[in-house]
Symmetry: C2
């Protein structure tokens, strides 16, 4: 059934899913290369060969060009572009945000998308940029919402997207999402975020996306509009974004820039190409730089590394190691680390969504102290009922005679029943040296246990305590 | 001139270099695939096609097999293996460490390596394993050293390697290196470390390698014997290892394991292949799993990703961003983070070697507070001579009237003259939130400045102080 979205596996707020469209069901997270119908740097059939299962194009560009429009109406979008998989169409909202106005009415462009057999149609919303006055953000959001209400009532043969706007006001984003979730949309793009990504404002990106996700609930598929740099895929997927579109592959190629999941190089500053894709396997940095096909080759490289990173994200979601990937990816830039820290601060939300099947917990730095598994251990600690004398120790050889209960202690989890030592998450791999964030978290959880069991008397034999309060009296 | 080693670029203790051999000059760091003359999972000419510029094989295996021995003596090693680039030969020491004894005399196997025209010959040393009794480590080291002294006097047409042993005793490793640096060797392998890498004891690996490097001095080329997992290349290169050998590509392939720079998967647990190499581009995870050529294909994948990681390491050395790569790579496992922290604790040593030309400093977590640039800022702070009234502030809008000197303050660097704001390293990109390690380091450097200028009077206008002592009185 077109529009149906199934979630198969979960990790953090991310998931492996399946979205049904008239031209087939695709697995998410999925990256859609952007195809410019005027200028296909890599033609759509070639994109399919390279691994693109779904693409996105701009219905406004097609509509505005008489020859393209007629061919699209005659052949359908799939015939026009020679692509058999699902095709999503944008509405011209981006052009409006750049040029101020466009020459088509909202329902006209929506009906046109249906007429050319788009698989996912996007109504003409108002993509409000970041940091505008609140009154403007609110007014534009009202206009977007009224257009979306109108769009949702229109007859359709395809999926319909309901973009979530609201500028950098998290409460507006959340409210917009709450409003739209009850209308009949199949996909929820988070819009107006390209300027945040261009300015490396990944902490603000996290605020905006998490607010939208909280408003939507976890069951709806989400498209992060304009997220095409592989550096952000892990972070965006961890927040629960399911679709991505990349114009970046072509834009960066034209600028002579070389993408990787660790960031961007200018090609002329590269002596070696740190990639094994067909382009990089076939060219040295110098050969690529001097090739007359440089732009096309760079674009192809960008798509290969982007699809590769998406496969890695999926593999990590499947095995429950997406946090570990985030720890690595967020070392690509201090702003990425800011983004990850902002997401880590949403530990309660992540914990509420996170799947329980996990690969071994790796403690990889202070941010790991806020992982959902740790939050969950803290939430569950109060269920432990203790009476009499209790020993909490991190010494496996401690003399436990005379105690009614013995709990082990391991930062960042705090105390836990010793019989759980070999089970998740307490079998975590942790570094030799414990850091302050890990100890603080463990101590906080231990205090909750002590408070929840006022009738028990606690003794502590700990090497690893942050201050003297926890030591044995 | 064979044996000549030139250093072209430096970052941390790592470097881009050039090592001359009878069969050509190779760029370092360089990975040598191990070729088993009996069982070439990927034949040497194919290795060359895949990007191997240099290989390593085992002279003992050749010597022990009459047919191989005769062909090697007749055709030379390069004819035997059909490889035109430099070939290094091992001596059988590894076999001795596994089987306890071998059937050849030290000078016999050395002369044989010369006779078959090896480019780099390795005398038969004693690879002492980790954690043995000190008396055994010392005795075996004495034996190794006497054999090496003998070997160094032998006539030769090739490069001669002087392996550094000493088990897990850093002082023995350093002393061995100091002894050998004055003998006539062309390359210094650090030996006996495979068990450390197999057990993920990367902190002990760092201790051993850094000790050897300190004893050798920076000008000598170093081979990290048995380091073939791409996960360790960045860390090993950052310590100043120049040559690597990989039997891992074949060993892991036979075990059905899949290597990446982020760690190891079992192939059967993979749903997607997160790589763009010719193998992974041409197969799905399921196809690879079911291929009758699985072992060969996995081995090829391993080499592609290994060469790829080596190119990335070189690119990072060249642009001065090797630390950033370490920050990401050491998030592959908590034991890798232990290794990085151990290296970060060698900040003074790294600072003494580190090149000065750098990409923008990225603060990517507590370990970044120990980067050489920060150590250097701390070392130089005492050169700043101040008299009269001094303001130290992190507020660019602070009222500075009435002060004789104004210094800016930015963790982790501490105070610096404001005119250096746009220069390295003070133009560092730092996260929005400052962490404790960064503040501690900055405060320590600030105290050194205050102490070095007893006649000046200091005022502070700081948002970012870890305690009240630094605030304006």
């Amino acid at each position: 059934m077109p529009g149906r979205f199934e979630i198969l596996q979960k990790d953090l707020a991310g998931r492996i899913g399946r979205l049904s469209t008239p031209h087939g069901t695709i697995e998410t997270p999925q990256l859609m290369p952007v195809v410019n119908p005027h200028l296909q740097i890599i033609p759509a059939p070639k994109l399919a060969e390279m691994g693109a299962l779904m693409i996105i194009t701009n219905s406004y560009i097609i509509h505005r060009d008489e020859s393209l429009r007629e061919r699209a109406l005659e052949l359908g979008l799939h015939g026009l572009l020679d692509f058999r998989g699902p095709i999503m169409t944008d509405s011209g909202a981006f052009q409006m945000s750049v040029y101020g106005d466009i020459e088509v009415k909202p329902l006209e462009i929506l009906d046109f998308q249906n007429a050319i057999q788009s698989d996912i149609c996007v109504p003409l919303d108002i993509p409000t940029p970041p940091d505008v006055e609140r009154t403007r953000a609110e007014a534009e959001l009202r206009l977007t919402e009224s257009r979306l209400e109108e769009a949702a009532l229109r007859p359709r043969g395809a999926l319909l997207a309901g973009p979530i706007q609201g500028s950098t006001y998290s409460d507006l984003r959340m409210r917009a999402a709450e409003f739209l979730r009850n209308l009949d949309f199949d996909l929820y793009p988070v819009g107006g975020v390209v300027p945040l990504m261009e300015a490396y404002r990944f902490n603000d990106l996290v605020d905006v996306v998490v607010a939208a996700k909280k408003g939507l609930g976890s069951g709806k598929p989400v498209h992060l509009f304009g997220a095409g740099h592989p550096m952000v895929f892990a972070l965006a997927a961890a927040m629960g974004c399911d679709l991505f579109d990349s114009a970046a592959y072509a834009l960066y190629a034209r600028q002579g820039r070389y993408l990787s999941a660790r960031g961007t190089w200018r090609l002329e500053e590269m002596s070696w190409l740190p990639c094994s894709c067909p382009v990089c396997q076939g060219h040295s940095a110098k050969e690529l730089m001097e090739s007359p096909e440089k732009t096309k080759l760079l674009a192809a490289h960008h798509l290969y590394v982007s699809f590769q990173e998406m496969r890695l994200v999926k593999q990590c979601i499947r095995e429950g190691s997406l946090w570990d990937l985030l720890e690595a990816r967020c070392r690509s830039h201090p702003r990425m680390l800011d983004g990850m820290r902002r997401l880590a601060a949403e530990g309660d939300w992540l914990e509420s969504l996170d799947g329980s099947s996990k690969s071994t917990f790796f403690y990889l730095g202070p941010e790991s102290a806020g992982r959902p598994e740790v939050i969950r251990a803290g939430r569950r600690i109060e269920r432990i009922m203790l009476h009499g004398s209790v020993l909490i120790t991190d010494d496996p050889k401690a003399d436990v005679s005379g105690f009614d209960h013995v709990l082990h202690f391991k930062p960042p989890f705090g105390p836990y029943p010793q019989e759980l030592s070999e089970t998740q998450p307490f079998n975590a791999e942790t570094p030799e040296m414990t850091d302050a964030a890990s100890l603080d978290q463990a101590e906080k959880i231990m205090r909750r246990l002590v408070k929840a069991n006022p009738s028990a008397s606690f003794s502590f034999r700990l090497k690893h305590m942050p201050d003297d309060k926890g030591r044995e009296a």
